[in-house]
């Protein structure tokens, strides 16, 4: 599976990642500073079947107190995430593919469960959110699973926004503002959304064989980070006839944290609770917070995009 020839390093949510195979979800690492060592190294190799004495465990994930982790999707691959003695600041991800697994499946899991764990292990704050830059302003969309974060980002990209990250967003506090870090260059969408947005079939790339969710490359932001101006929590299945944007204030506007922070329990098991609280407090103070109340119908997607464009689009 290892590709020969030159492969670029990638920006993995702001971290430099080196991979033995081509990745399609992440922007290339900027050519400037190319002599820096990668912060994350991916390689194909053997992994343990399981980890002893995990402090957090599920059928798919094990986390140990020594900050190693194993992600096991048995039909795709095992990912063993650990550090090195030689380079304490380097995170190593060993990938042991399951025979027959496709590279794009490995990237799918890398982009989801593995990415979240790596970011928590590196004491960053990953949010379960999609983010676009619209009219020069970064707008993030949070909300529970299936609330329409990626779909709304896609609808806005179709209206001229640039994608900053899909589904997983790293935010940091620069001291002056909350920074949203550039993440992915693809949106992951389901057929109902792709059909509604008239995304041609040849642009729909598989994420798993026979799976409904597809990856779609879209115009993406190239800067490494962007001040996060607006944080919009999508409240789907609301008893409303039309989507409505409501201004919210303070930390409670970010509740429930378990929906906002990606793999929150894993982060807390790694001792990141205080850092999480600091980051969310900075977010609540540094970004203008909103709730977008919408129905559970895809039919209101365009109207949701209109509402966001009109209120937050900066005249775009």
């Amino acid at each position: 599976m290892t590709e020969t020839g030159h492969l670029p390093d990638y920006s993995f949510f702001g971290l430099r990642l080196r991979s033995p195979f081509r990745l399609h979800s992440f922007p290339a690492w900027p050519a400037l500073g190319s002599d820096e060592a990668p912060e994350i190294e991916l390689y194909f190799g053997e992994t343990p079947d399981s980890l002893d004495k995990p402090i957090w465990a599920s059928p798919f994930v094990q986390i140990r107190s020594d900050r190693t982790a194993l992600v096991n999707i048995s039909s795709v691959a095992r990912f063993w995430i650990h550090g090195t003695i030689q380079a304490a600041d380097t995170t190593i991800i060993a990938v042991q593919p399951t025979p027959g697994a496709e590279i794009f499946e490995i990237e799918t899991i890398l982009l989801g469960a593995v990415a979240g764990i790596v970011l928590h292990l590196r004491s960053l704050l990953p949010l379960h959110a999609s983010c676009v830059v619209l009219g020069g302003r970064a707008i993030a969309f949070s909300g529970p699973c299936a609330s329409g974060k990626s779909a709304l980002a896609a609808a806005l990209v179709r209206r001229g926004a640039l994608l900053l990250s899909d589904n997983l967003l790293v935010v940091g506090d620069s001291g002056h503002s909350v920074q949203a870090v550039v993440g992915t260059t693809q949106l992951r969408l389901w057929p109902d959304v792709m059909d509604r947005l008239e995304i041609p079939r040849q642009q729909r790339l598989p994420t798993r064989p026979g799976h409904g969710k597809h990856a779609v490359a879209v115009p993406a932001e190239e800067a490494r980070a962007w001040p996060l101006e607006f944080m919009v929590r999508i409240e789907s299945a609301s008893p409303v006839d039309e989507p409505v944007l409501i201004r919210r204030h303070g930390l409670p506007a970010l509740f429930p944290f378990k929906e906002l922070v990606f793999q929150r329990e894993i982060g807390r098991s790694l001792g990141n609770a205080a850092r999480e609280f600091h980051g969310l407090t900075a977010l609540a103070n540094g970004a203008a917070l909103f709730a977008l109340r919408r129905t559970k119908m895809i039919n209101d997607l365009d109207r949701c995009a209109d509402v966001v464009m009109s209120a937050l689009g900066g005249g775009l």
């Binding site: 957090w56 599920s58 059928p59 798919f60 994930v61 992600v71 999707i73 039909s75 799918t108 899991i109 989801g112 469960a113 979240g116 764990i117 529970p144 699973c145 299936a146 609330s147 589904n167 992951r188 389901w190 057929p191 109902d192 959304v193 994420t207 798993r208 026979g210 799976h211 409904g212 969710k213 789907s236 299945a237 609301s238 008893p239 409303v240 006839d241 378990k258 929906e259 793999q263 929150r264 329990e265 894993i266 129905t295 559970k296 119908m297 895809i298 039919n299």
Partner: protein, 287 residues
């Protein structure tokens, strides 16, 4: 007539109280009455979070640390029993109420999806399938023939579409008869049978049976039933809508009465239901 499952005594050990029904059989009404009861008989705002929700993708991801939408339906189904156990382990609540539309099913490896060891018991609400058919058609935006077809489909599953992402995990439902029989004959846990028609006749009495079965203090059953009357719920939906209404339905709380199937269904569909589901209908005095 009140019928009870063959094994109706509640256990002491498990935390889950499963509120089970085929769709459009009174499950949400019972959930609201139970929520009111647990709040001393106070009225329930139907647009606030109602206890006893269906298992969601959000919970799957919280407990398992992976994106459910990155997994296949088979991969999700294989770990459903463990998800229930994980929720039970993490909860300090001695009673976890959950709404269920799944039939009682096993994973591909033969494991029970609703593990008896974490189950206090199941309350199964059954409704005359002729009335279910009319309500089902309204709810899902089907014509009556399509609704009757769906109720015969042994492979029917909810929220398992590969064309869109759903809030809930995939739920194998099966045909109406298969659904009822799967729970009543093979739940492997204590089970209380409640008829929707008896809820209509005396909701406080049926609520009290459920409360006692689940170990919930039952003193405020009369107040809870009065505060959660069908007309009250309809009025709330008229005024402010209902977040659990699906896009295909004009409203969630519609008629809430029995006998509508005999009035609205054409003869050939009545005969089909009575033929296909007759054996199970007979068990509840519906024929």
């Amino acid at each position: 007539m009140i019928l009870e499952g063959k094994n109706s005594a509640p256990t002491q050990g498990g935390q889950f109280g499963w509120l089970v029904s085929y769709p459009k059989s009174g499950n949400t009404w019972m959930r609201i009455m139970l929520q009111s009861l647990r709040n001393g008989g106070a009225p329930v705002d139907i647009n606030e979070s109602i206890d006893a929700h269906i298992l969601s993708r959000q919970e799957f991801e919280e407990y398992f640390g992976v994106e459910s939408s990155d997994l296949t339906v088979a991969e999700i189904n294989a770990v459903r029993p463990e998800l229930h156990r994980a929720i039970a382990r993490a909860s300090k609540d001695p009673l976890i109420l959950r709404k269920v539309h799944d039939r009682c099913w096993l994973t591909a490896s033969g494991e029970r999806v609703f593990p008896p060891e974490v189950s206090r018991g199941a309350v199964y609400i059954v409704r005359d399938p002729r009335d279910v058919a009319v309500s089902f058609a309204h709810f899902f935006g089907l014509d009556l023939e399509e609704a009757v077809d769906s109720m015969e489909d042994s492979t029917r599953a909810f929220t398992s579409s590969s064309s869109r992402l759903t809030l809930q995990l995939p739920q194998p439902v099966g045909s109406w008869s298969k659904h009822v029989a799967s729970w009543l004959d093979d739940a492997a846990m204590p089970l209380l049978l409640i008829r929707y028609e008896d809820m209509l006749a005396d909701s406080a009495l049926e609520l009290e049976k459920v409360a006692r079965f689940l170990g919930i203090p039952a003193e405020a059953c009369a107040q809870a039933a009065a505060a959660s009357g069908f007309s009250t719920l309809r009025e709330q939906e008229d005024m402010r809508g209902f977040r659990e209404r699906v896009p295909s339905a004009a409203r969630f709380f519609r008629q809430g009465r029995s006998g509508e199937g005999k009035e609205k269904l054409p003869i050939h569909l009545l005969e089909r239901i009575e033929t296909v589901h007759g054996a199970v209908m007979n068990r509840f005095g519906y024929l």
